[in-house]
Each structure stands twice: as structure tokens, then as C-alpha cells.
């Protein structure tokens, strides 16, 4: 192939059925420049191989014409993928070994004796030992890591149990003894690996759909040299003092002062505010801001690590450190469980030695105690419950990044919410019904579709939702700072600033005007509306004892109507540092804060909270900092996620109780030497099935 092929991936939140898959794949394969397109329904993504001349924005547009929203994402992080693949391979090996060893063990249990039994034990050893060495690595590695740092976790008793059981069984085999626990060791690994695989599958699913959402921050920009020539430079090579050309539709790659040009910029990436801000020479612009109308020349004042956006990232990193110290519930349980089990095994060994049983029999009983108490059901108790809950939530459009997020969400007792983009939609929507006639509406749509201005985009989407079809227009031109003009059936049409269109001044509100020559001009007002179901969601949070409070960076008068409509208190005019400080103050006083926010300015607060939720419309900074991301406009997912997390936690506790109850019954049997490999195998499987069955009750937890 002579041309170079590029690979792009897009998230498709809207695909639901087989018809969607074929529509997108079919449509893309007929798009010129696209070589191949493959939809991954599980991850709700499409991978496209295309000519490098076709840029991702065009493909995104193409997908939009098929009726689907698409967000470009970074191609998958390979590391996470390798990890879950390793686990799956280990699971395959453990499954193979467990089945074959069990087959041989069954014949031993049914009475094979003498040479046949020895042969079967040897065969089991040959299968089990490489399998344990291979499939046990994830546990051994993590146990070793914990021990080296002087901690203990669930993997320590698992590793000790498996290794001791294998070694003891090998000794039995060599000496021709009757009891070998090879089947127990590999079956244990198989069950535990199943739990691990589920856990990592959950993390992968969330990662692929949410964590890597990328809102194209500028990778670089066009630099104007003193001699008048221009060259494109990567963001990290841009220095203060350089002059940067930012074309309409581009994001600024550095912070700076505008030297020339007049335009409107969309800073929603940084602030979450949707309203475009008019800028002129002498105004400041920060990296990541989207230039909407006209070209700008910017004198760079800060670049790379010194930009506002990079500073915010550092603040977030520092704030996120408290969360990385969180200890998961399974590991907390292991802190008590592991020492108890090991003491018990050691005590039974000592006890039988004192009773005069001989070290061989004492050792066998100690190993039996270790195998019986090996936290098989405990290892499954948490991941199965969390995976089932995360799957149920995912079907409701709520993505959980990992299991610990569910645990922390269940512990949250206070909630703090951002206003713009979180309680509100974060984008303008037309106020009231559109007063345009059918013909006017179709002309307005044709004009609005041309522009990237947020009001034009909002108008276009509102008209499309009404089922309006765009009219055929001629001579369309976008005039910077004014609006869009065109010709329809010989008549002049204009959409844009009310003054320019010739409409009455609507005052200090977001508004645009439309005029078809020969008709009266129409003023269309916009507002950042509350999310649907915001009020009921807040009431539910109050009923759950979460004490919701607004923390907003906005002015008091902008926040007041929202706070009144929702009947909740608000803190206003907070800089990102103030939000962070407010959250940290609460955390220090012992509250576990759930932070709901979307913008870059919420990033540090999202990272500092005990747990955080962001809408999928959030800036990529917000989405990366949040533990939970919900799709769609409605705010109802927040209480749903909270309720599901609490219910999951109670199921996890029940599972722990089941697993421990089983131990209470089985340990005395082991202590008195009644546990044979057969009893161990039955006990282990029964407790695992019980735990899994209990966890499956969570399938309806997101309703």
C-alpha cells in the first residue's frame, strides 16, 4: 500500500442493537478514505483504519450523519490489556489443570489403590505443579509485594496455602501416601482467578469507555517567526515570547495575551462554562481555550508545564494522593483473617505434635486447616458482587471505574455538587418553544449548522430534534463576531447577534436573532437549563442523608435561581483552590464526601473527594479525575449509583458472613483431622457457589 494508514478509535455511547452495528460499519466502509471499520459492541467503540489524509474530525462528522454521537478516544492503553489477558491465560491453565486433576482424584476417592493410586498421584503432580507455578503467579507476586512492605493482604494466606498444599502433596506422592491435595490447590486457584478476571474485566470496560475520553487539547500550534514565516511546533517546544497563530476552530496551545484579532472563545474545557466569551487585543487566553470565530495572534506568556491547565493537573495529582491510600474492604478483612488462619494452622500443628501424632500427620492436618480456611469464598465475595453491580449500572449508563469506587461510594455521607455542567446541562438550550414558522425553521437550521458557535450548535440541535429539515441555501458566509448570512430563494437571511440582524436588543441574556427578508426578525433566548430530574435527584439525596450543597465558581446571582429551584444551600465564587480547600476541610472533620463535578476547575475537588462522579459531558480532566461517569442528560444516575453502591456493600457483607460461617463449620472438622481431600473439594465449591448466587441478586440493583 503506498499511502499511510492511520488508526482512530471513537466511543459510541448510543449504540444499542445489531442494526446500529451494521449501519455504522456499512456507512463507514462506504466513506471515501476509510479502509476498514469494526464496531466493538461491548466497549461501545468503533476502530477505524483510514487514510492519514482523513482526519478524525471528518470521520466523527461521518458517523454523526448516520445518526450516532461519537467521541474520539486515545487508542487503548496496551498495559491494562496485557494484564487482563495474562489473568485469562492463567484462568485457562488453572481450569485445564483443575478438570484433569479432579478426574484423577475422583478415581482415587472411589477406591483406587496401590500402584494405580501412585500413578494417578504422579500424573496429578505432573499436571498440577506447572499449573500452580503458572496460574499462581498473580497471587505470589502480589503477596510478595505486600510482605516486602511489611503488610499482609488476601494473597498472603492464598499463596501460603497453595504452596504448602502442593509441597505436602508432592511429599505424599513421593512416599506413596494416601492423601494428595493437588485437586484442592488448583481448584482454589481456579475459583480465585475467576474472581480476579471479573474484577479486571470491570476495570477494563470502564477504562475503555470513560477514562480515555479525549477532548483534543491542542498538541501544538502554528508559530509566527520574527521574519514572517510560520511553522508548526509541538506544545512542549513553544516558549514564552513566541507569537502563536490560532485559527478559528483551533485550541490555543499555550497561555498568552492576544496581540491582534477579535473573536469569541469557548473555555468550556477549562471552566465548564458554555457561554462564548468575546475577546479582543490585550485580553488573556489560556491553553485549551477553543477559538470560535476569527483568527487570533497570541503572544505566549506561559507554555508547557507553566500553563494554568498544567498547574491544575499538579494540584489534582497532589489531591488524589489521599485516595490512593484507601484500603479495599477485602484487604482490610485480610488484616484480621490472615494472622488468625496462620495462628490456627500453627496451633493445630503444635497441638497434634504434643498429642503425639508424629510430625507427618500433624503437618497433614495443618495443611488441611490452611486449605479449608483458604479464602476461596472471601476471594470471590467482593469481586463477584461488584462486577454484577457494575454490569447492572452500566446498563443504566453509569460507568464505574473500579471496584474500590463502589466501596467508597457506599461509604459517602455528604455530597457537594458543582453548578454549571453538573446541576445544569452546561450548554445553552433555547428557552420556551421556538416561534419560527416551518419555512423559517428550515432556513435557520441550514444557517446554524454552518457555525461552531455554541448558540448556533444549540439552535441546530433543537431544530433537528423537532424534525426540521435544512433548506437549500446559497452564498453562506460566517462573519466573525456577528453571525452567519446566506441567500434563500433570492432573499437575504441572517442568523447571529441581535444588533447585526436588526432585532430589538434583548438585554443582558444569552440570545441570538434570526431574520428572513420580508419577515419580522425573531429573537431566540437561551439559558443553561437544569438537568432533567435534577430536583427529584436532589430530594432523593436529601432523603438519603447526604446533605447536598452547591459549590460553584460562579457569581452569587447566577447560582441563586438554581439553588432556590432545588432548595439547597450554595457556596459561591469559589476558585478551584477554594473548592479543594472546602472538600479537604470536610474530609478532615471525618466526613466522606462525594463530589459531583465536571469542569477542569472541579478537577482538584474531584480528586480530593472520598469518591467522585462526573457526567459524560464533562471536560476530560473531570472525567479522568472521577470514579464514576454517567451518560446522558438526566441527573437521576447520581442517587441510583449511590443506592446501588450501598446495596452492593450490604451484599458483600452478607458474602463475608457466609464465607466466615462456612469456616466456623469446617475448621473444627479440619482441626480434628476429619478433612480429606474429598471433603475439602466439596466444602470449597459449595461455599463459592453460595457466594456467587448471593451476588447475582444484585442484577436488578440499578432499577
Amino acid at each position: 500500500m503506498s499511502e499511510t494508514v492511520s488508526h482512530s478509535e471513537f466511543v459510541l455511547p448510543g449504540i444499542r442493537c445489531a442494526a446500529c452495528i451494521s449501519k455504522i460499519e456499512d456507512g463507514l466502509s462506504h466513506t471515501p478514505g476509510v479502509h476498514a471499520a469494526r464496531v466493538n459492541f461491548t466497549a461501545k467503540k468503533v476502530a477505524v483504519d483510514h487514510a492519514s489524509t482523513l482526519d478524525p474530525a471528518q470521520i466523527r462528522e461521518a458517523i454523526r450523519t448516520f445518526g450516532f454521537d461519537a467521541e474520539p478516544v486515545l487508542a487503548e492503553a496496551p498495559k491494562a490489556d496485557i494484564e487482563s489477558r495474562e489473568l485469562l491465560k492463567a484462568l485457562g491453565v488453572a481450569g485445564f489443570a483443575a478438570m484433569n486433576v479432579m478426574l484423577l482424584s475422583v478415581s482415587v476417592w472411589s477406591g483406587a489403590e496401590g500402584a494405580t493410586r501412585d500413578l494417578f498421584h504422579w500424573l496429578s503432580a505432573l499436571i498440577a505443579m506447572p499449573a500452580v507455578a503458572y496460574a499462581g503467579r498473580p497471587f505470589f507476586r502480589s503477596a510478595w509485594r505486600a510482605l516486602r512492605h511489611g503488610h499482609t493482604n488476601m494473597d498472603v494466606p492464598i499463596s501460603i496455602g497453595v504452596i504448602l498444599a502442593t509441597a505436602m502433596s508432592l511429599f505424599e506422592t513421593v512416599t506413596g501416601g494416601p492423601h494428595a491435595y493437588f485437586d484442592g490447590a488448583v481448584a482454589l486457584l481456579f475459583f480465585l482467578l475467576a474472581g480476579r478476571v471479573l474484577d479486571s474485566a470491570m476495570r477494563d470496560r470502564a477504562r475503555s469507555s470513560a477514562a480515555s475520553l479525549l477532548r483534543q487539547t491542542a498538541p501544538g500550534g502554528l508559530v509566527l517567526r520574527p521574519d514572517g514565516s510560520t511553522s508548526w511546533m509541538a506544545a512542549d517546544r513553544i516558549d514564552p515570547g513566541m507569537r502563536l497563530l490560532v485559527a478559528a476552530g483551533e485550541r490555543s496551545a499555550a497561555d498568552g495575551l492576544i496581540e491582534a484579532g477579535e473573536s469569541a472563545v469557548d473555555r468550556s474545557l477549562i471552566t465548564g462554562e458554555s457561554a462564548a466569551e468575546a475577546v479582543k487585543a490585550g485580553d488573556r487566553i489560556i491553553a485549551g481555550a477553543l477559538n470560535l470565530d476569527g483568527p487570533l495572534t497570541v503572544r505566549v506568556t506561559a507554555a508547557g508545564p507553566d500553563t494554568v491547565i498544567a498547574g491544575m493537573a499538579r494540584l489534582m495529582e497532589a489531591a488524589g494522593q489521599t485516595r490512593s491510600r484507601y484500603v479495599r474492604i477485602a484487604d482490610r478483612a485480610a488484616r484480621y483473617y490472615a494472622p488468625a488462619v496462620h495462628t490456627l494452622a500453627a496451633a493445630s500443628f503444635a497441638g497434634w505434635m504434643i498429642a503425639g501424632a508424629g510430625w507427618h500427620q500433624a503437618m497433614l492436618i495443618a495443611v488441611a486447616v490452611l486449605i479449608i480456611t483458604c479464602p476461596c469464598a472471601l476471594g470471590l465475595a467482593v469481586p463477584v458482587a461488584q462486577v454484577v453491580a457494575a454490569g447492572a449500572l452500566m446498563r443504566r449508563g453509569i460507568l464505574i471505574k473500579d471496584g474500590s469506587a463502589l466501596e467508597r461510594l457506599a461509604e459517602a455521607d455528604t455530597v457537594r455538587l458543582d453548578k454549571t455542567g453538573t446541576l445544569t446541562l452546561g450548554r445553552p438550550t433555547p428557552v420556551g418553544a421556538l416561534s419560527l414558522e416551518k419555512e423559517e425553521a428550515s432556513v435557520a437550521l441550514a444557517l446554524a449548522r454552518v457555525s461552531r458557535h455554541p448558540l448556533a450548535v444549540a439552535l441546530a440541535s433543537a431544530l433537528e430534534k423537532q424534525g426540521t429539515r435544512a433548506a437549500e441555501l446559497g452564498r453562506i458566509a460566517e462573519i466573525a463576531g456577528a453571525g452567519i448570512a446566506g441567500e434563500y430563494a433570492g432573499a437575504q437571511v441572517r442568523l447571529g447577534h441581535p444588533d447585526w440582524v436588526g432585532a430589538p436588543d434583548p438585554g443582558k441574556v444569552m440570545a441570538t436573532a434570526f431574520r428572513l427578508d420580508g419577515h419580522a426578525p425573531h429573537v431566540i433566548r437561551f439559558a443553561d437549563a437544569l438537568r432533567p430530574e435534577a430536583a427529584s435527584a436532589m430530594n432523593e439525596l436529601k432523603a438519603m442523608g447526604m446533605e447536598p450543597v452547591i459549590i460553584s465558581g460562579d457569581r452569587g446571582e447566577a447560582v441563586r435561581p438554581i439553588a432556590q429551584a432545588l432548595g439547597m444551600p450554595a457556596m459561591v465564587s469559589l476558585a478551584p483552590e477554594d473548592k479543594l480547600a472546602a472538600i479537604e476541610r470536610l474530609e478532615r472533620s471525618g466526613r466522606k464526601v462525594l463530589v459531583v463535578g465536571d469542569g477542569l476547575n472541579d478537577g482538584p475537588a474531584l480528586a480530593a473527594g472520598h469518591v467522585s462522579i462526573a457526567p459524560s459531558s464533562a471536560s476530560d480532566v473531570g472525567q479522568n479525575a472521577a470514579d464514576v461517569v454517567f451518560l446522558g442528560d438526566s441527573l437521576a444516575p447520581v442517587p441510583i449509583a449511590l443506592r446501588a453502591a450501598r446495596r452492593t456493600q450490604s451484599i458483600v457483607r452478607q458474602n463475608f458472613a457466609l464465607a466466615i460461617g462456612y469456616n466456623v463449620l469446617a475448621v473444627p472438622l479440619a482441626l480434628f483431622g476429619f478433612v480429606t481431600p474429598l471433603v475439602a473439594a466439596i466444602a470449597m465449591s459449595t461455599s463459592s457457589i453460595l457466594v456467587v448466587g448471593n451476588a447475582l441478586r444484585l442484577r436488578s440493583c440499578a432499577r
Binding site: 452495528i21 451494521s22 459492541f41 485469562l88 485445564f96 484433569n100
Partner: protein, 54 residues
């Protein structure tokens, strides 16, 4: 005993064959899109040659 001498290697080889097939299917990406595979069977390919050509 002779029966065992034949059957055990056969059973193990079959098991190993299954394991090898699992490893292969894993590396070939067959487990990447489980829900999609269930959906794709419903796609009617009669009217799209492009799909069939793949």
C-alpha cells in the same frame, strides 16, 4: 491397566488441545467483543456486499 495407558494420554491431549485453542482464540481477539458477537448474528447481510466481502 492397558486401557488406562491409552485413555489417560488421550484425555490429557484433548485437554491440552482445548487449552491451546483457548490461548489461540485469546490472542486472536475472539474475547474482545462478546456482546457484539451475539448481536452480529442478527445482522442481515443480504443487502450489504461490503459486509460479505470482509
Amino acid at each position: 491397566m492397558n486401557g488406562l495407558g491409552l485413555l489417560i494420554p488421550v484425555a490429557l491431549l484433548l485437554g491440552l488441545g482445548g487449552l491451546a485453542a483457548f490461548f489461540w482464540s485469546l490472542s486472536a481477539g475472539q474475547f474482545d467483543d462478546l456482546d457484539g458477537a451475539a448481536m452480529r448474528i442478527l445482522i442481515d447481510e443480504d443487502d450489504s456486499e461490503a459486509e460479505a466481502a470482509q
